[in-house]
Symmetry: C2
């Protein structure tokens, strides 16, 4: 196998995503809606797997982190305390001729005039990125609420509730996956920058003074997580924020970045938020969001380390990094091209495809039996497919990243053995039907 195109143009992935049912443009029949996307039958499974692995690795397999699922609509004072009402803004200019709007900080220095029509710009002004809406039956300022621009605040304001109900001791964390919304001036690059997106965030509460060490540890852990699930290490890097770009709440932030075709882009940010958030919410709400340290007998405000990742960006990255076009030699010796998604087996939307060699009436009953027996275990997402030639079916499952195909042929009727074909090296191994469960238990073990 030879890899024949590098780097892969993003358009190739966008096209595969639509054709195979990973990602569709939202409201496509109405011409779409500015950079909003829907996950199709395969995309939703990929995203489910991704979130499930994150939840497993960060919450279920640890005793020091618990989950939470806070509402998207929160009390407006939350955004006052957090600083979002005042400060969550981007500088924007508008072209006086074509009225296109641009983020001032994203224009290149030579763009003194509009890159679309050459017109002149208005003065730069600040534009708040929160979506606002009105709760209750009358539109007035009293009922203005915002779609949360980050899931984090739901974890801060529930700090005492979580502490009291779980009796956790420092250090401990709260993790959450959920939608957030930012009214980006210039969304784009497929699902990389969208106005509606999903976050997977941890707020890890630590003793002040231990925060630098925890920050370092989380940066390394989260980097390893992406590499563990298949991101090639040459395509991922750490970048520390310099003083100018640090958020108002952060003492230090390190971004995990991926090498996209348009340049390095943030996948996840790991911030040391200090005690900023708990202090602010304590002061704005009048409730003491503190921790009672039994060993010293003191109430303290913990520091917070926040690994904050984007689900959509991670899905995009895993897909893009897994995309290969290869030249392979087929059974009859001809050179062929194949597209293969080399997704980590635990991320793959379909884990096992069960394929009778053909629709021959002798083969189908055994193939169905194998399929149903594996499906009944409820452990792996399976697909049964008896359409088209076996070669075309292999190509289809390569293209959607299915790690293993189980093929039932005429010999299977005699020796009760089937073939497992490996997506990556296309090697085929014959094993007894009775041994399939044990074999896949081992191949898919966490």
């Amino acid at each position: 196998m030879t890899e024949i195109i590098r780097p892969i143009p993003m358009e190739k992935l966008v096209s595969l995503c639509k054709r195979r049912g990973f990602i569709f443009q939202s409201s496509e029949v109405y011409g779409g809606l500015g950079s909003t996307w829907d996950y199709g039958p395969l995309g939703v499974e990929l995203k489910r797997n991704l979130k499930e692995l994150w939840w497993h690795d960060n919450i279920h397999s640890r005793e020091d982190i618990v989950g939470l699922d806070a509402a998207i609509l929160m009390h407006p004072k939350v955004w006052d305390a957090s600083g979002h009402l005042e400060g969550f803004s981007d500088p924007m200019v508008e072209c006086r001729s074509c009225n296109h709007r641009f983020r001032t900080d994203q224009l290149r220095s030579q763009d003194a005039t509009c890159p679309d029509c050459g017109g002149s710009f208005t003065e730069s002004r600040m534009f708040n990125l929160m979506f606002k809406t009105f709760m209750g039956p009358v539109e007035d300022t009293a009922s203005t609420v915002y779609l949360r621009p980050e899931t984090a605040q739901g974890m801060f304001v529930n700090f005492v509730n979580v502490l009291q109900s779980t009796r956790k001791k420092l250090p401990f964390g709260i993790g959450q996956i959920g939608k957030a919304f930012r009214n980006e001036i210039t969304p784009g690059n497929f699902v990389f920058r969208t106005r509606e997106f999903e976050q997977m965030e941890i707020e890890f509460f630590v003793m002040p003074g231990t925060d630098d060490a925890w920050h370092k540890k989380w940066v390394q852990d989260r980097l390893n997580w992406y590499i563990h699930y298949g991101i090639r290490s040459e395509n991922i890097q750490l970048r520390e924020h310099n003083a100018e770009e640090l958020a108002h709440y952060a003492k230090a932030t390190v971004d995990i970045e991926y090498r996209f075709p348009w340049g390095w882009g943030e996948l996840e940010g790991i911030a040391n938020r200090t005690d900023f958030d708990l202090q602010r919410h304590s002061s704005y709400s009048g409730e003491q969001l503190s921790y009672f340290d039994e060993t010293t007998g003191q109430h303290i405000i913990p520091y917070i380390i926040e690994p904050s990742g984007g689900v959509d960006r991670a899905a995009l990255t895993f897909l893009y990094d897994a995309y290969r076009e290869e030249e392979v030699v087929s059974a009859n010796g001809k050179k062929e091209r194949r597209v293969v998604l080399q997704l980590h087996p635990l991320l793959a939307p379909v884990k096992i495809a069960v394929l009778p060699l053909s629709r021959h009436p002798d083969l189908v009953p055994l193939a169905r039996e194998v399929f149903l027996r594996l499906q009944d275990l409820g452990r792996w997402q399976l697909e049964y497919d008896d359409s088209q030639s076996i070669g075309r079916r292999y190509r289809r499952f390569d293209e959607i990243g299915t790690p293993y195909c189980v093929t039932i042929d005429f010999q299977s009727l005699e020796d009760s053995q089937v073939t497992i074909r490996d997506r990556n090296d296309m090697l085929q191994t014959r094993i007894p039907i009775a041994g399939l469960e044990a074999e896949f238990n081992q191949r898919f073990h966490h």
Copy 2:
């Protein structure tokens, strides 16, 4: 064991939910936000289990339904075509003295005056229940978008995308779980009626003419689903909509209702939506949302059967129906009261608690070994707890619905056996540590 209180006042469940970390009032430190709720560490696990079972039973274990995850923000024309912009309204009156607002159809006939202050009402007027917001950097009508009031439309407008990418044949369905928003005039009853909520919906596409039979089948399947996961059959019923209450798109609708303390309330509605939605979107978008029937060579518009359930309502119902207060006889012969959540084992947020009899240094290492060995399997959510007396720990795990406690005592050090305590009957069985995996595999088998 004797059950000592029936029916359970909802306040008892609300209090347990807060105390144990199932459900907190959202933004509680700021006084809350009109009937919005956050799921705590146990609540998020319960809801995850519930959604996982729904997804498994309706999508993964069937070959005729695929998943989807469409965006919350959709093109405004979607709501024009669906009829929501025009018709998704409730009649509302306002009190002229205290300005409280009421749904006209929810006032009792004797409420000619305000039930809160006795003031007189304004004329009844229609109030649209969709939350609106503004996409893009300027607030003008061109950029007004709505938070979806139902997930269903995302499946209708993607009908052709799903058809083309999966090559499914009729009958087949699309399933989705996601947030929806309705600006209810009078939310309330804990998480029963909230403005932000989560739906689990299936749109099942069938040949016209087969729709009545499929509708009947889905009603029965969905009723059985709730009963299968533990809802007592005397507390659940079917109720068919009469002509006046039928939605504009429906030919027939059957509600699955639960007996709440305030009366029967809808858990899920199963509607026969006919070809209304695909016809409307075809006509409003100019795209033909049809199915090519290979046997007749004709393009047809399928009928849609829609089982539409509420995740929050289901979570509330499973919790409420599982809540028991019992009088039990303790080991020393004393009568005691216990609260127990008799949740279905697959719904329980913590599946297995591993408990050393005490913190004695001889017991802890073995208990930790048992805990880590079970946790490493990644199959069940576990908790390790060595605080307090064993009796109090049993009560705590009863209260959060943990089906099994594994207790390690001094005899375990000699015979490598441990005790499994069953939440429901409190019976204790001694089994070898080496047999735990097989035992729990069997007890938790789907």
